[in-house]
């Protein structure tokens, strides 16, 4: 199998150019063709010599992958199915909202984390995506060119595939790449602390932490990762971090009926997050087969939001989008295609 050009950073493109006996500046030309000029083959890179294109074609392919299936929700949300390099499949969601188009990208085939409420976790883990496969989910959808925001909240735990995620962020935000503002990108994690620290150091994108309950024992039963990286320790690290004025940290909180929607939880969330300038996103639970959890009613959700806002924690309720095509939060899965 030929190596892929798409997904390489500038340094790698310069190195491969030198290895092929081409001038180092070919690397910059390649980056322009790959990330700024939308070519679909090496032969279209017209400012490269014929010999350079032949050399590149011998060892490399462009590496773009088109989606094999697209589903459209009644609310306009789309779900794209992409094949991976290793003959697996991943899903990507595109959520339109007025003039915003947010793409929710996957970072792994499946997930190792085994959260009780997540459909992706039920398929286990089948592999890591490359940086190219992550960025391709933005480059190869119909809305490419009109994407306003990117969230790393699709299949997989992004910080369990840190190298590829950091590289994809580099491609998306560098001047030689797509030159997007990192403030339009949010990476979500359940809080793998060493990887989170590296992410905070090496990227400027926003961070979202899947919190779901402030209580240790309760979170352990919902999210096995709590055993290795307790939320209190995750929050402690975040408290020690200077996010500056532009960078944002938020906490994702799926509400489960009678489990994590009580005034005790409001009180403990306030205590846990004291001192952090943050936002809480409340998410309705989208039922997953075989899971003994339910979503609370709208009144409870609104009340939970209001209680947190009254305690000066900015709290919003995330709109459920794409539920009819299983594109909503926690529902992405390619288990049937394994």
């Amino acid at each position: 199998m030929k190596d892929q050009l798409f997904g390489k950073n500038l340094t790698e493109l310069q190195e491969l150019s030198i290895t092929l006996g081409l001038p180092k500046f070919t690397g910059k030309q390649l980056a322009d063709w790959l990330y700024k000029k939308e070519v679909s083959s090496i032969d279209e890179m017209s400012n490269l010599s014929k010999k350079a294109r032949e050399l590149l074609n011998e060892k490399y392919e462009l590496g773009l992958t088109t989606p094999s299936k697209v589903q459209v929700s009644i609310d306009g949300t789309k779900k794209y199915l992409f094949p991976t390099l290793h003959n697996k499949f991943i899903e990507t969601a595109m959520i339109p909202d007025d003039d915003r188009k947010t793409v929710c990208v996957s970072t792994q085939v499946g997930c190792k984390m085994g959260c009780l409420f997540c459909m992706t976790g039920k398929q286990g883990f089948q592999g890591q995506l490359t940086a190219g496969e992550i960025v391709n989910q933005i480059r190869s959808i119909e809305e490419y060119g009109h994407v306003s925001n990117i969230v790393y909240m699709g299949m997989g735990e992004p910080l369990d595939n840190l190298e590829a995620v950091l590289k994809s962020l580099d491609i998306l935000t560098s001047e030689w790449g797509y030159a997007m503002s990192p403030r339009r990108i949010t990476v979500s994690s359940i809080g793998i602390i060493p990887a989170m620290i590296r992410f905070l150091n090496e990227s400027e994108a926003h961070l979202a932490i899947s919190l779901h309950t402030p209580f240790d024992e309760e979170r352990r039963k919902l999210m096995p990762v709590q055993i290795a990286y307790p939320i209190a320790e995750v929050v402690h690290e975040i408290k020690g971090w200077d996010f500056g004025r532009q960078r944002r940290v938020s906490f994702e909180y799926i509400l489960f009926k009678g489990l994590n929607d009580t005034p005790f939880h409001v009180r403990e969330l306030v205590r846990l997050l004291a001192g952090i300038r943050c936002r809480i996103n409340l998410i309705r639970f989208h039922p997953v087969p075989g899971t003994p959890l339910e979503s609370p009613d709208e009144e409870t959700i609104n009340s939970f939001r209001d209680q947190l806002n009254a305690k000066d924690i900015t709290t919003t309720i995330r709109a459920s989008r794409g539920q009819d095509i299983y594109a909503a939060c926690g529902l992405l899965s390619t288990k049937e295609l394994i």
Partner: protein, 226 residues
């Protein structure tokens, strides 16, 4: 309800220990040990590294908490950094290890311990720490030679030690995966605790199966390799 635990440590420090033993239990799977006086709760994990070039990896302790030795089981990941090198360690080599931590704790309450492969580690630690009363151990493997500590566990636990083997058969062993065994078995007590340790797919499948058999999810504790 308890308050969320307070933590004050940034990164768990690693310290040097001398390896006392490194034994190949089955092809590609090793039990490595070192001298340690550290107190730990059976079920906890340690971070392991061989240098400071690469981040450490997390392993469940696989020894009892009353001895002067600590062990882990690891299997060689051919494309990995740590384990191919760790497999070549011999007595006297220096390993970097963290203090034990984590909250996958065994106790004296009645429980099922359900593991696949090297996921036996925390349960063997609990077993060696005297927590095996009122416990049923279900261990699933691919091949018969992967029932680590089989003789000792069989002798001590008798019919409360259930072996499941998916690719080889033996009259003492259930033929099939752990999930096949659980599907074929009924009357799991709902008030027992269920501890699961293994790869994510096994854990989520076993958890779903137990829930479908009436076990409250609150009684299921999972530790996943990642």
């Amino acid at each position: 309800m308890a308050k969320a635990a307070e933590y004050s440590r940034a990164e768990i420090p690693l310290f040097s220990v001398k390896v006392t033993q490194n034994v190949e239990l089955s092809p590609g799977v090793f039990l490595i040990s070192w001298m340690s006086q550290l107190h730990f709760i059976p079920g906890q994990v340690v971070k392991i590294a061989i240098d400071r070039l690469q981040p450490p990896r997390i392993y469940s302790v696989c020894s009892g908490n009353s001895g002067d030795r600590m062990s882990i089981i690891f299997n060689i990941k051919e494309d990995g950094y740590l384990t191919p090198r760790l497999a070549r360690f011999i007595a006297g080599d220096v390993l970097l290890v963290s203090a034990p931590y984590g909250s996958f704790h065994g106790d004296h309450r009645p429980a099922y311990w359900i593991a696949t492969g090297t996921g036996i580690s925390p349960f063997y630690s609990m077993f060696q720490s005297g927590l095996s009363d009122q416990k049923v151990l279900i261990h699933g493997v691919s091949y018969l030679n992967q029932f680590y500590f089989e003789e000792e566990l069989d002798w001590a636990l008798g019919n409360k030690y259930i072996r499941c083997c998916s690719r080889e058969s033996d009259e003492r062993v259930f033929s099939g995966r752990v999930t096949d065994y659980l599907l074929a078995t009924n009357n799991f007590p709902p008030d027992y605790k269920y501890y699961l340790c293994g790869k994510s797919l096994m854990v989520v499948e076993v958890r779903d199966l137990l829930i479908s058999k009436g076990i409250p999810y609150e009684n299921i504790f999972a530790e996943i390799y990642f």
